[in-house]
């Protein structure tokens, strides 16, 4: 295994882990598979595009992107998920699907159906040479950022009252409420953090292609889905593991598949995951299985 492969896999895995953790935080508490999650990334992309047009410096555009994605996440929860929270799981799922379509079409209607170029700081496209391997600086940045974000997140979850409340809510929501933890507050916090992670991941996601269009959210959403399911839906650790395994699988398939089959890579990818789930439906990281939902 050479260095280039290692760093590429790590950076891809980091990005996927970020995506997956954001999704699983909300899933843990609400048992909601959030189909609108990909759109939070898309919002981050458009926030960079719009703020750059208005003349904001590059560091401001990045901050605005993360904040925009947090706000959208926060407000979709209040407007759409909160009223259907106590209803059936399918109602919640379909609501998130509708929210996703809503956000896509708002962008389609107000900005453009065509892709927009997203200006990113120069160092995103630079490459560095480390012991003979040429690597995009972006890939190293993803690894670093993910490490920092995950450390901060685990500090938040383990050491603060809010984090403890969120972990408790993910285990037994009703009991947590009986202990005096306000439900709306915990759920809002989860959506804000989920939006934050989506925003950070969105910057790097958009940074890879340098453009954003209304359907940008679909691919990262899928990756987050598959990574969380593969890693285990019930814990952030599972999501991180799932993200890295997915990144590794992706890179291995990219190398191992013959050129004529490379366009089927996604099909192989998902087929492998489906097969894996059949043997181990609870994912790689097994944890006490809780089916309780917010009621």
């Amino acid at each position: 295994m050479n260095l280039e492969f290692l760093i590429n896999t790590l950076s891809l895995g980091s990005l996927y882990a970020l995506l997956a953790v954001g999704l699983v935080l909300v899933y843990g508490i609400l048992k909601l598979v959030n189909f609108a999650y990909g759109e939070y990334l898309m919002v981050a992309g458009y926030a960079i595009y719009l703020s750059a047009i208005l003349g904001a410096p590059w560091w401001a555009t990045l901050i605005i992107a993360v904040v925009a994605s947090m706000l959208v996440s926060f407000f979709t929860e209040i407007a759409a998920f909160r009223p259907v929270r106590t209803k059936s799981m399918d109602a919640l799922l379909v609501t998130s699907f509708a929210v996703s379509i809503f956000l896509q079409n708002i962008v389609l209607l107000t900005i453009s159906p065509r892709a927009r170029a997203v200006p990113l700081p120069d160092f995103f496209s630079k490459t560095v040479v480390i012991s003979g391997a040429t690597l995009p600086l972006r890939n190293l940045l993803v690894i670093g950022t993910t490490a920092v974000v995950l450390v901060l997140l685990s500090f938040l979850m383990k050491k603060t009252v809010l984090g403890m409340a969120m972990r408790a809510a993910a285990d037994k929501f009703t009991t947590t409420r009986l202990m005096g933890v306000p439900a709306n507050f915990v759920i809002s916090a989860a959506f804000l953090i989920s939006g934050f992670l989506a925003g950070v991941a969105g910057i790097f996601w958009v940074g890879r292609s340098g453009s954003v269009d209304p359907l940008t959210g679909a691919a990262p959403l899928l990756i987050a889905f598959i990574a969380t399911v593969m890693g285990g839906m019930n814990s952030p650790i599972g999501a991180v593991v799932g993200g890295f395994v997915y990144g590794l699988l992706f890179n291995i398939l990219s190398i191992a598949l013959p050129a004529s089959m490379i366009s089927y890579r996604d099909a192989f990818m998902f087929a492998i995951v489906v097969l894996f789930l059949l043997f181990r439906p609870e994912g790689i990281i097994r944890r006490g299985y809780t089916e309780e939902r917010v009621g």
Binding site: Y27, K31, D90, A98, L277
Partner: protein, 353 residues
């Protein structure tokens, strides 16, 4: 009991089917006789959509597992029947890379549609058994991932589907009568399954799968039967659709179409056949009206930009609104029945306790 009484009693106990079928036939006859060609087209499309929705309903409504995959079976049915019925000359021109054996194939339309749905059912039967073990979120995501596998194969396998490009030249066959007969057939089939002992078992597993398993129901097997049947129905709908629309690409069998189907089934109520009929009606009317509004805004040039996606936007809001007010859909989990309408008030009070 005289034959008259017996048939009346039968009609009363199965009034759901009668209630769904009679208005559909009446509307069909009226549209055919007096409607403009646009209206005939809309009604035909409505009937085809109803076929697809009922196909989804047989699995989703009875088993309670949200399925994104069925639009993929619609696609399989459409491609399989289209390949079988399109003249070789058209295929040779339109699909340059197609396998020679497939190019030479041509059979009449009706057998092609029937074979197409059998292909969909065989694929469903081959892949779905292990998936039926999964419930809840994992089940939903797995079916979703399988839809993506379908989509990738449809867009890449250009020896069969013409890849991402349009597959065209499918002979036009679906008239209003064909679509209406198809829809009526689907209603009867969906109702028959729902009321059959296998249907009852699937519904029991939906309401409480542990209790169902404890009473000796093989949950996985019951779901499997429902899934294969619903794939067959979706494939049939796909075949009828293909011979109505005559040219299509894999885009037609992906997320945005699935969203339309889901909105129909959710707004009406996934749990019942009446719900599927009501939901398809409401959504078809709403979409047609919105489309007209969108077109007239664009044609009037009052805005400096083209309006895109207004229809989907409003549909999304409508869907969330319905879910907030009536999470079970407009009709709810129970079938509409003549006898039930009278006692509706009383029933609701009871269920609210």
């Amino acid at each position: 009991m005289s034959i008259m009484q017996r048939s009346l009693a039968w009609a009363r106990s199965h009034s759901t089917v009668v209630q769904a079928i009679i208005p559909l036939i009446l509307a069909g006859v009226l549209v055919q006789m007096f409607g403009s060609s646009l209206l005939v087209n809309v009604y035909t499309f409505f009937c085809v959509s109803l076929m697809m929705v009922l196909g989804v309903q047989v699995f989703m409504g009875n088993s309670g597992i949200l399925s994104f995959l069925h639009v993929g079976f619609v696609g399989v049915g459409a491609y399989a029947s289209g390949i079988l019925s399109t003249p070789p000359a058209v295929k040779a021109m339109g699909v340059p890379n197609m396998f020679p054996a497939l190019v030479d194939l041509q059979i009449p339309v009706l057998p092609a549609i029937l074979l197409g749905d059998i292909v969909a059912a065989i694929i469903a039967a081959a892949i779905s058994y292990p998936m039926m073990r999964l419930s809840d979120a994992v089940g939903v995501i797995t079916l979703f991932a399988t839809l993506i596998v379908f989509h990738v194969i449809m867009t890449q396998w250009d020896n069969v589907t013409n890849g991402p490009r349009t597959f065209f030249g499918v002979p036009e066959y679906t008239t209003l009568t064909v679509a209406l007969v198809g829809a009526l057939l689907m209603i009867v089939l969906a109702y028959w399954f729902r009321e059959s002992s296998m249907g009852l078992r699937v519904r029991a597993s939906r309401d409480d799968r542990h209790a169902a398993a404890a009473t000796g129901i093989n949950v996985v097997r019951a779901r499997y039967v429902a899934f294969v049947l619903s794939a067959l129905m979706a494939g049939l709908a796909g075949g009828v659709w293909a011979h109505f629309i005559t040219s299509f690409s894999p885009k037609a069998f992906y997320m945005s179409e699935m969203f339309v189907l889901l909105s129909m089934i959710v707004i009406g109520g996934a749990g019942s056949i009446s719900g599927a009929v009501v939901g398809t009606t409401v959504v078809t009317i709403a979409r047609e009206v919105l489309r007209q509004v969108e077109a007239s805004i664009n044609n009037a040039h009052v805005l400096s930009f083209e309006v895109f996606g207004l229809t989907e936007l409003v549909m999304a809001i409508l869907m969330v609104a319905v879910l907030i007010w009536r999470p079970q859909g407009i009709v709810g989990g129970q079938e509409l029945k003549l006898s039930r309408l009278r006692f509706k008030k009383k029933k609701e009070e009871v269920s609210n306790v």
